[in-house]
Structures are given as structure tokens and as C-alpha cells.
């Protein structure tokens, strides 16, 4: 690894055109050749802007006010055209679908090479190299839409990599992927960094992965560089991280919790390997005590609110998306549906609302077949908050948006005003009532959509991937809302692959894989069932993996779900009888 800085950011400040505030403020940062730098920080911290400044898109594409200087491989990013910089800085973005532009894997990789006027023989040579570098061999002729999420992002990396750049800049490349896709992308980036010596700058909310792969972590907040240091030093500062709404890896949280409980906790590990390696030292000071966990699922009683019987669905292209699903949901349950992309989660819940018709089987709500109802009628009883808030916003004020459904249901006058008021209050949106929904932040937009669905007062609420694209605090806020609604008597279903967010919220877990239910169990059992989870390419949260390692080492049962629970299972050796 060389020591000369490849990327130089000198007193960088930047303001987007028509923006009130600076997006970046006095940022000074150098990246060495061959380094892996992680960028963390809450939404709006300036991570994306910093990534775009490295490729010259900021300010060349957007305009705006740019102060200071950025150089990559000695080239000034303001003066060098983006198309020329592209041969030194490769960019990979968040959305796998918008960044793929060609009709086959090889054409996708060829695109940039054709643009820089390489001859076909050289293009072919580089395609072969790039395909191998990201392990997509054998898929050269495939259409990008036939690839999985992880494969798509690896293709985007290959397409940028083919220009043989020195720096690879990735802006939240895994935020829309399931865990297996996410692992593929991280593994690929790590290999490119370690084996080919490519310098990497990667912005992400995935603390556990960054902790394992990055040489240094830069924490950004409100456009400023708060600190840059090794993962172990950055993630071991809970005060700093919580002030900037950034989540440390769970094993670090465990050590912090030990310290909070007055137990001796030396320097916190940030990866699973570090945690297991440093356990011996920890063990000399603290010891496990017997702890019990109540099975928190009450036995089902009464007729089910929602009942699925032998449900099958075959798509027009012949894909068997659901293969005989049977499921009962009682009133007042909070359940989470897990599974990799394509497991059939969304397809299943769309049948509850008759957005899809079963190929075989039936869905009953309150004992009545949904086949006898219109979508609009079912929507009153089952509120469905789908993935992208922006395609669910049609009105020019928050208030009108929340009242949209009520007017469709024929409500008006004081009754409507009262319901809107109630819904705005529940979601904490009263102050935004006359603003345009699209002028709000992403987290607030998501709450507008929930408020709009909630106004219909449905008995069941379904959230489809509510935490995708939200930072840690935004995700927690949405889940807190779901818990409040659950406590108010609603039946809640959450579709997700963010397993670490579920403890404290969901009680029952349904794991789906390839159109069948693999597991239907209380959360404590489900998150510890590694064979089933890995069967649908999910892995349990880091703390559960650590607890499983501990359990087998100490020959005890440790069905913990959170760092706090695990810390509660220990006591100090000093001072104990």
C-alpha cells in the first residue's frame, strides 16, 4: 500500500443552486492510494455530495457555489471534464435499476469503453477482465433485468471498473439490497481493494460491514467532517455516534452497555472476529449469570382476523411466486415477514388486498373471501404502506393528502376534518399541515403516507420495507410508530430484511423463501434459527451471532436479541460473592 495521497480534499464547501444551506462545509480529507475509506453519517450529512464531488458531478453537472479544491490523481475535479475524470474515478450509485443502461451484461460494460473510443478487441479484453473481477462470468449475454439485486450492483461496479480507474466511489450501494446481495457487493469491493489495490470510498449505513472492511471511517454530519479514524476508534465513541444518529456495530453496543452497567469493559471490538478474540480478556473480569427470557407470544385464540388457505400464484411468465401458503393472523398481532428479494413477500400481501388474484387458494378477512370485494373496499380494513413514498403522494398539501382517502370514502365536513386532525396528530405532522408533501424530508414523507393510510382507520396495517433508504434514526422512528399503533390495538405486519431492527417490535416472525413459508415462530426462536435464515440467504444480527458463539463456548442457552439483553446476562467478577 502506497502512502501518497490519491484524493485530496482541501477546504471544500459547496452549496447547491437554490439551496439555503451549504451541503458541505470546510471539509479537509486525504485518501491514500490503496486505502478503503468508509463514509458514515445520518441522512443529509453530505455523504452523497462528497461522493459526487470526487467524480466532478459536483459542481460540473449541478452548478452552485464551490469553494476550495478537490484533486484526484493530480487532476482538479472542477477543471477536468467529468468524462475524462471518469477514467480515474469510477462511480456506483444507490439504485440498481437506474444506473444500468444497456441490454446485456457485456454491452453495459462496453458502454463506457465505447465512449472513450477504444477498439473492439481492447473492449472485449477489458470486458473479460471486468466480468472476472466482479465474478459475473457466464452471465455476459444476460439482460440486466434478469440479474438479482447483488448481481446488478456488481455489474454497475464492473461497468465503472472497466475504465481502469484508481478510485472506486460507491454511494450506499447496498441500501436497496437484501442481506445476501449486500454481502456480495461488500465482498467484491473488498477483493478489488485487497487484490487489485483499488482505492475505495464507500458511503453506507451498514456499520457492521464497514467496521470489518474499512481502513478508516469518516463521520460526516450537517456537511462537516466530524472525525476520521480507524473503525475501532470511531465506533467506540457512543456519545459521538448517538449525537449524529449513527449506529455502532452491535458488539460495540454490547461493550458500551456493559460499561453503562458499571462493569469493566476494555476497548470495544467492532467486528465479530474481534469480539470473539477479545472475549478471553473480558471473561477474566465479568461472568455469565443465569438469565431467563419469557416466550413472549401468547397462544392464539378466537377466529383469525386474516386467514390464508393454500394460496398459490403463478405470474404470466410462469414464475411460481407462491406455492401453497397457509397462514392465520389473529387480531392484535405484530408480525414480520422476512426473506430474500423474490421470496414472495410482497406478492403474498398483495393478495390480502386483491391487488393480485390467486391462481389457487383463498384469502379470508373476518371470515369473508376477499374475492367478493373491490380493492377500495378492502383498503378500509387493511392499510397498505408500500415501498416508495413518492409514488403514493398526489396532493399539494399534507392536509389534503391525509384527507384524500376520506373523500374517496364519501366523507366530508367536520367528520373529515376531525379524522384528518387526529391522523396528523398521531404522526406528529400538525406543523407541516399546509406544506407540500414533496418539500419534506424522506422520513417525513414516509410519515405523511402512513398518516394518509391511517386516516381510513384500518384494523390491519401492512408496511412494505418501511426502513429502506432511511437512516438509523428514521428507521427507528417509523418502527416506533408501528409499535404505538400496535399498542393502540392495530394488527401490524412488517415486510423487511433489516433483521437487527426487529427486536422490541415484532413478536412473530414468518420466514419465506421461494414462495413457501420456511418458518413461523416467535422472534426469539426465529432469529436464532441459523439454518432456516441462511436457507433464504438471511443472516441473524451480529449480536445474535456473537451470542450463539458464546452459548456454544459456555455450554448455555442464550436466546438474546439485543446488545442490552446480552449485557444483562453478565455480572462483574470483582465485588461479587
Amino acid at each position: 500500500m502506497g502512502q501518497d495521497p490519491l484524493v485530496h480534499i482541501d477546504n471544500l464547501s459547496y452549496q447547491y443552486p437554490r439551496a439555503k444551506d451549504l451541503a458541505l462545509r470546510d471539509v479537509n480529507l486525504s485518501v491514500r492510494r490503496g486505502e478503503f475509506l468508509g463514509l458514515v453519517g445520518p441522512t443529509g450529512a453530505g455523504k452523497t455530495t462528497l461522493c459526487l464531488a470526487l467524480s466532478g458531478v459536483v459542481p460540473q453537472f449541478f452548478g452552485g457555489r464551490f469553494y476550495g479544491q478537490v484533486t484526484v490523481a493530480g487532476l482538479d475535479t472542477v477543471e477536468t471534464p467529468i468524462s475524462l475524470l471518469a477514467q480515474h474515478v469510477a462511480s456506483v450509485f444507490q439504485d440498481p435499476d437506474t444506473q444500468l443502461i444497456a441490454n446485456s451484461v457485456q454491452d453495459e460494460i462496453a458502454f463506457a469503453l465505447e465512449n472513450i473510443c477504444l477498439l473492439p478487441e481492447e473492449i472485449r479484453r477489458r470486458i473479460a477482465w471486468a466480468v472476472q473481477a466482479v465474478r459475473l462470468q457466464g452471465l455476459e449475454g444476460k439482460h440486466p433485468s434478469e440479474l438479482s439485486g447483488g448481481e446488478k450492483q456488481r455489474l454497475a461496479i464492473a461497468a465503472a471498473l472497466a475504465l481502469q480507474p484508481e478510485v472506486l466511489v460507491l454511494d450506499e450501494p447496498t441500501s436497496q439490497l437484501d442481506p445476501v446481495g449486500s454481502q456480495e457487493v461488500f465482498a467484491t469491493v473488498r477483493e478489488l481493494n485487497a487484490e487489485l489495490g483499488i482505492t475505495v470510498v464507500l458511503a453506507s449505513h451498514a456499520s457492521e460491514e464497514l467496521a470489518g472492511f474499512a481502513d478508516r471511517i469518516a463521520l460526516l454530519a450537517e456537511g462537516q467532517l466530524v472525525d476520521v479514524d480507524t473503525p475501532r476508534r470511531i465506533f467506540a465513541r457512543p456519545d459521538l455516534l448517538s449525537r449524529y444518529a449513527t449506529r455502532p456495530p452491535q458488539v460495540a453496543q454490547f461493550y458500551q452497555e456493559l460499561a453503562r452497567r458499571g462493569m469493566p469493559a476494555p476497548s470495544a471490538p467492532v467486528t465479530l472476529e474481534q469480539a470473539t478474540a477479545s472475549y478471553e480478556a473480558l471473561h477474566e473480569q465479568i461472568q455469565l449469570r443465569l438469565c431467563e427470557f419469557a416466550a413472549n407470544m401468547s397462544a392464539a385464540s378466537g377466529p383469525p382476523l386474516l386467514s390464508v388457505r393454500g394460496l398459490e400464484h403463478v405470474y404470466p411468465d410462469g414464475t411460481r411466486a407462491l406455492q401453497g401458503i397457509s397462514l392465520d393472523v389473529q387480531k392484535g398481532e405484530y408480525l414480520a415477514i422476512l426473506g430474500q428479494n423474490g421470496a414472495g413477500k410482497t406478492t403474498l400481501v398483495k393478495h390480502f388486498l386483491r391487488l393480485l388474484q390467486p391462481t389457487a387458494g383463498q384469502v379470508l378477512v373476518d371470515g369473508q373471501d376477499v374475492g367478493g370485494f373491490q380493492v377500495s373496499e378492502l383498503a378500509r380494513r387493511i392499510g397498505f404502506v408500500s415501498q416508495n413514498p413518492d409514488s403514493q403522494i398526489f396532493s399539494s398539501t399534507v392536509e389534503a393528502e391525509v384527507g384524500f382517502a376520506l373523500r374517496n370514502l364519501g366523507m366530508n365536513g367536520p367528520a373529515l376534518a376531525e379524522r384528518v386532525e387526529q391522523s396528523l396528530q398521531t404522526m406528529g405532522l400538525v406543523e407541516h399541515r399546509s406544506e407540500h408533501p414533496l418539500s419534506l424530508s424522506k422520513g417525513d414523507r414516509a410519515r405523511v403516507v402512513i398518516a394518509a393510510v391511517l386516516a381510513m382507520q384500518p384494523d390491519i396495517l401492512i408496511f412494505d420495507e418501511p426502513t429502506t433508504g432511511q437512516d438509523y434514526r428514521g428507521a427507528q422512528r417509523i418502527l416506533d410508530i408501528s409499535r404505538e399503533l400496535h399498542q393502540a390495538g392495530k394488527t401490524i405486519m412488517v415486510i423487511t430484511h433489516h433483521l437487527h431492527l426487529l427486536p422490541g417490535y415484532a413478536r412473530r416472525i414468518i420466514v419465506m423463501g421461494k414462495g413457501v413459508i420456511l418458518l413461523d415462530a416467535p422472534i426469539r426462536q426465529a432469529l436464532h434459527d441459523i439454518p432456516t435464515l441462511s436457507g433464504t440467504f438471511l443472516s441473524p444480527p451480529q449480536i445474535v451471532q456473537f451470542a450463539l458463539w458464546l452459548a456454544s463456548r459456555e455450554q448455555v442457552s442464550l436466546p438474546v436479541l439485543t446488545p442490552e439483553e446480552l449485557a444483562a446476562c453478565f455480572r462483574s467478577r470483582v465485588g461479587s460473592a
Binding site: I82, A86, A102, N103, F111, L119, P120, P316, T347, Q392
Partner: protein, 283 residues
């Protein structure tokens, strides 16, 4: 609506052609020659029999290419009101061919009594116009669905279109499935908020469609900005010196098709001028 895809993404393949066929292996330029020839013939001929045969030929090719029946049905359903108007206008008012009345307004009817006549020739002429437009409507998806968009760009550049224009054309085509998908998800979200289209009159429905436009346009703008950024970071500058990985090559079959298209067009023109073949005649 198009076939529902649920959790699945929509692409040209899911709405268009699914099968590998000889048509996909043809060069885009020879397919463009075919498109031009059929357009020429559709306008040259006024004979319902010949235009009808032309439609039948294109339909057959569509089936060979594996264009989805659902798509063809959808196109027909959209065009149906237009065809009804064409048939009726020609039936009632085409005085240049209309002779034999099959129905006439009774004398006593105000204004139109005794004057308005529905002629069999007019109806058949209308049918010919329907065939003519049908052949155009069917031949365009036949070419687009069986052509790789990249090949389309290269083909267009090779026949003299600037690269930027060709790229914009193909980028627009690429966005069609994405837009259709977006429309689907917006209208789904509206139904999930109690909107019951099936219970609405036409004016209300139009208002609902107008509401879809706002999120749709905003979404499309965001997407096109993202696309521009992606293109810039992939060294795209629309340079005319740009190279192509797959230089299109005209093969024997392509030459044969171009020659055939040209030959048939010339012969048809000659026959039309010399013998009048293709003139309007009642079958």
C-alpha cells in the same frame, strides 16, 4: 391494463417478445427497409384485399416473433373506437366510391331525410383504411420488440443519424416500461386509498388520471437526472468518433430482405401505374 407483474419488474421482454426467432437475428437496417416497404405498400394500395393480405402477413410475422397476444389485443382495444369512426364516416360520407345504398335515412327525418345513405362501397373502403393503419400499428412493435436497443442505436448511427439523437431515441424507449410500471404503482396506491375507478364517470376518471401526472412527471424527472449523472460518469459525451463493440454486419439474409423489399415495392408501383393493380375495387 397490461399484465400485472406484482413484485416482478416490467421490461420490454415481459410486455413484448419472449421468443428467440429469426427476426431477432436480422440486422436493424434490413428491418427498417421492411418497415419502409410495408408503409409504402400500405399507402400505395387501395385494394381492401391487398391491404388485408399485408395485415395478415405482418400479423403472422408478429406471431412468429412471439409478440404477446395480450399486447396485440390491448392495441386493438385502444384502436377500436377510432376504427368505428373510420368505418362510419366512410360508410356514410365517402361519395367518391359510395354507390350501393344498404340503408338510407327515411324521407321524413329532419335535415338528413333522403340525403344520408350508408353505402357498401364506403364501408369496404373504410375497412381498407382500417387495414392500412393496422399494418402500420403492427409493424412498428414488430421491429422494435425484435431489435436489441443497442443494435437499434448502432443501426441508426450507421444510416446517418447523429449518435446523440439515436441514443436519446433508444433511452426514451428504454424508459417506457419503467414509466408503465410507475403508472401501475401510482394507480395502485390510489386504489389503496379508497379510490374506486370502477364506480366513476368519465370526467371523474379523467381528473384521477390527471392526478397521476404529478408524481409521474416528478418521478420521471428524478430518473432522467440520475440517468444523466450515470452517463456522465461513464464518460459519455456523444462523441461522433465513438466506437462500437458490435459493429453490425449485413448478412446474406439481410441483403436478400433489402433486395426483396425494394423489388416488391418497385414491382407494385409499376403494376399500379401500368395495370392499376391495387386500385379500389369491391371484392
Amino acid at each position: 391494463m397490461l399484465p400485472q407483474q406484482g413484485g416482478q419488474r416490467m421490461t420490454w421482454r415481459t410486455i413484448g417478445s419472449l421468443r428467440e426467432s429469426p427476426l431477432q437475428r436480422l440486422d436493424v437496417r434490413s428491418k427498417l427497409a421492411f418497415l419502409l416497404a410495408t408503409t409504402f405498400l400500405a399507402f400505395l394500395w387501395e385494394s381492401p384485399l391487398l391491404t388485408g393480405l399485408l395485415v395478415a402477413l405482418i400479423l403472422l410475422l408478429c406471431l412468429i416473433a412471439g409478440i404477446r397476444m395480450a399486447y396485440l389485443r390491448q392495441m386493438l382495444r385502444l384502436m377500436l373506437p377510432f376504427y368505428a369512426i373510420v368505418l362510419l364516416t366512410h360508410g356514410f360520407w365517402n361519395t367518391s366510391v359510395g354507390r350501393t345504398a344498404i340503408w338510407a335515412a327515411p324521407q321524413g327525418w329532419w335535415l338528413i331525410g333522403g340525403k344520408l345513405r350508408l353505402t357498401s362501397e364506403g364501408l369496404v373502403y373504410g375497412l381498407m383504411v382500417v387495414f392500412r393503419t393496422l399494418s402500420l400499428i403492427l409493424v412498428i412493435p414488430l421491429v422494435i420488440f425484435t431489435t436489441d436497443l443497442n443494435q437499434l442505436i448502432v443501426g441508426l448511427v450507421r444510416i446517418g443519424l447523429p449518435y446523440k439523437v439515436a441514443f436519446t431515441f433508444s433511452a426514451t424507449l428504454r424508459f417506457v416500461p419503467l414509466l408503465l410500471e410507475e403508472i401501475g404503482s401510482i394507480s395502485e396506491a390510489q386504489r389503496l386509498r379508497g379510490l374506486a375507478l370502477e364506480k366513476m364517470n368519465l370526467i371523474k376518471r379523467l381528473q384521477v388520471y390527471a392526478r397521476i401526472a404529478v408524481p409521474l412527471i416528478l418521478g420521471a424527472m428524478t430518473r432522467s437526472q440520475q440517468l444523466e449523472i450515470v452517463l456522465a460518469t461513464r464518460a459519455f459525451c456523444g462523441s461522433p468518433q465513438r466506437t462500437f463493440l458490435q459493429e453490425p454486419r449485413l448478412r446474406g439474409l439481410d441483403y436478400a430482405l433489402v433486395v426483396l423489399c425494394l423489388g416488391v415495392s418497385l414491382v407494385a408501383l409499376w403494376l399500379r401505374l401500368r395495370t392499376g393493380l391495387g386500385r379500389f375495387v369491391m371484392p
